[in-house]
Symmetry: C5
Subunit: 83 residues, 5 copies
């Protein structure tokens, strides 16, 4: 899993049905790359989280057919990015 920081949310009026009502978060990794993840844990901007990709991302939503390849798996307690 990857360590990333939540930087915002994403609004998409037109999207595929398979994403249901899930919140979509904008997250950024250590190299500055921004991605989009489903959030089942309720993370807020500034939180450091870890994300799971692939099939694990779908299982985490409780419905294996969910159209996601990246899901937040947990909020990290007391993470210091510099060390």
């Amino acid at each position: 899993m990857e360590i990333q920081q939540v930087v915002g949310s994403l609004v998409c009026t037109n999207r595929v049905p398979g994403l249901d009502h899930w919140h979509l978060r904008l997250i950024r990794n250590a190299r500055g790359k921004v991605s989009v993840a489903v959030d089942p844990v309720g993370a807020s901007p500034g939180n450091w989280v870890f994300t799971a990709s692939g099939a694990a991302a779908r299982f985490a939503t409780g419905k294996a057919e969910t159209h996601t390849d990246l899901t937040i798996g947990g909020i990290i307690d007391g993470w210091d990015p510099d060390g």
Copy 2:
């Protein structure tokens, strides 16, 4: 999921049956890399979209055996690539 911009469409007369009649879009990510994605939401050139890869890409077409590893999941409302 990744944030990408639609830059065009792709014409392939000779292709595998598993892609049916799906529209294929050319998309470009923040680093300039161009990929090909199945489009079930009707995106147009210039639109900013997010894409799902792997099994999620196949589920999004409604048929898990579809021969795609990248599918557009939604059109982003009011995306500003510069921040």
Copy 3:
């Protein structure tokens, strides 16, 4: 899916049974990286094709247990790599 150019074929006398009799093509992407793909469409050296990875690569062969993680999905009509 990725856009790549066919640059040759691969000969492997000693290989796993799960690849059956499939032709293996050498392909090269925009950054010069060479990979090996199963070819169900009959591509020739010089052709520009798009490739699917992961499970989609296996489904494209008509047998989901095929030992491939990259399969040519179609030959692109009139592709100009420079734009």
Copy 4:
């Protein structure tokens, strides 16, 4: 599978149920990239391990629905990173 070194553990009070009680290790690869892996073998900081990703990561926990995309597969005997 990738060769990585264990550099610590991760504490996440708020995490998805699918990770059960698994220990989460911080690991670092040869290029300095830090990731998070489930640890079923009992690795300690400083150990060199190899990790499996994707579905193999889930199977290694004995429960294919586990929310992980990276799992430690074994501790390498006498690994010398410099050759």
Copy 5:
């Protein structure tokens, strides 16, 4: 699939049961990155091989639950890395 060269073997006394008795090879790709692969074909150091990742890696062992994400698929006849 990727083209890689076998550079050695890996000894892991403490490993997950899902890898059974498979030989683990150290392999190196064109950019110098070293990985670990299950070897069902009997490759030797110096051999050029192609590797499959993901689910294809597991199917190649004859047991889809095998804890591997990279498996050698064949030994390449007469490969010249310089072209």
